[in-house]
Amino acid sequence: MIDADLHPAARQWPPIVELRDVTAAYRSRPVLEGIDLAIAPGERVAIVGPNGAGKSSLLRVMSGILRPSRGSALLAGDPIELLDRRTVARRLAVVPQASTLPFATRVEELVGLGRIPHEDPFRGHRPVDRAAIAAAIDRVGVGHLLGRDARELSLGERQLVLIALAVAQDAPLILLDEPTVHLDIRHQVQVMELLVDLNRRDGATVVAVVHDLRFAAHFFGRTVVVDRAQIVADDVPGRALDADRIREVFGVDPALVRSGLPPAELEPAPI
């Protein structure tokens, strides 16, 4: 499953996430078939694939939202369906989609929601929670947005605030579903660099569904290619995204996307 020469982080054991022979379906439509995947603590993994391939479903199985019809999903060694949601939320943070908030919500209030798995159910935020919120705001660099209604922010600013929410959640594993969708190029790069930084400096394991193959190659050490409900490649970006596979899986001329890619023999991806 994991080659010894794949990536230094991948040799750490036990995996923070492990899927064993996972098959899952939405209303009897199969979305994942026989998935085996292990991610070690400290890895930075990009999940790529065409629309409808099963990338989001893969994330949803990892976070325990989608229950496999066969096989099992383990979170730090424990079957995720046996953990209560609060325990799961302390072990993994999912950066929420930038969905519309129903009511005016300030940036600091939004980031504060990340403390829900930790806060006292009755008394709310304690000093330790307030410190974590301040630290997350500082870490992601959204201090200049404090006091503003999160709904009035640009998409790029909002995405950073939502990542700050996940950072405030203080979980060792961060999952993201297309974190740069709709963002301008500057914010896309800013988000990607932030993820790399969170991984390198704080040791967070980062697993993200990424659409842009060049970003996947440039910012992630490991690329998992999903196509038609199956993992068809799991390797360093240079090898996972070779010309034949890009043509086969994505149906486009590899020259379009590989121009910015490192040569296949180079590993791991340069940052």
Binding site: S63, A93, L113, F122
Partner: protein
Amino acid sequence: MAASAGSLRIASVQRSVMERARAHPARLTAAALLALVVTVVLGVGLGSVAVSPGDILGILARHVLGLPIVSTWPPAAETIVLELRLPRVLTAVVVGGGLAVAGATFQGLLRNPLADPYVLGTASGAALGAAIAVVIPVRIAILEFGLVQLLAFIGAVLAIAIVYRLSRSGPLAPLTGLLLTGYAVGSLLAAGLSMAMYLSGSSLRQIFSYLLGGLDGSSWLRLAGTTPIIVVGSAAILLRARSLNALLLGEEAASHLGIDVGRERTILLGLASLVTAAAVSICGLVGFVGLVIPHLVRLVTGPGARRLLPLSAIGGAILLVLADVVARLLGEIPVGVVTAAIGAPFFLVILRRARTGYEL
């Protein structure tokens, strides 16, 4: 030019007042409670026979606290205060507070600023129950609770139970399913209500006054019968503030924040519906309190449920007491007319002044 500068200055003063209120939640709560006490005294004092605030406090100190205060007021004032006004004003406090808490809960749960306590069919169920009680020739009374109150309560609870059951079996996403099923069941119940009204003949006015809401039927026993449900239900909702906060981000995100969404949705829906049912059983369908107050409070406190719910309760209480005073002074017009007449323009002004818009 000058006018716009002036209005800018007013806006900035308002903003700084709001900022201070937000930064000091304890002071804000204390101020709100003080306002509530003043409103209650006002509500007890005003009416066809006015009683001075001093006399009210004296009567309360003597009869409620048992202090040895020499009576300086006419004996009739005691009866008016203790038997008529006080139960009525306290009913307005409890019902107004309960409806505002239920409204805030439904809005948070359904992630819909237009939601109110009646949105999922409780109102139609209660109305049909009340109308049936008026139409059928049976009269019972248990501790001053007549058939109207009992059937209204049962109707509201049954309606929401049916909506909940039906919405779970469909293929729709939970929230969409709840809203659409609530609408469908509500329409069906409204048809039943129309039929009952058509058949009611001379009792039509009685059904109609239930639909508009009123506090003229208040009594100590009715208050004692419903207060526990409303207070315990509201407190139980407040203890689940965490879940309401998480739901701001949507159901899946709430689940990622450690909330068992299905379970919490069921519990919050049940609690808010019980509170609503208890409130409408004694006061009829008082409108607007549950819709407007949570929005007004959110402008000051933000969307966090831990501050929103208690202050909504206080705000709802104040609004309903004031509305009832107006209704009383205008010769017992339905209080629902007053809450709408006060609430709607006030709401519009606040929305126009608000810094942030409401997206639907």
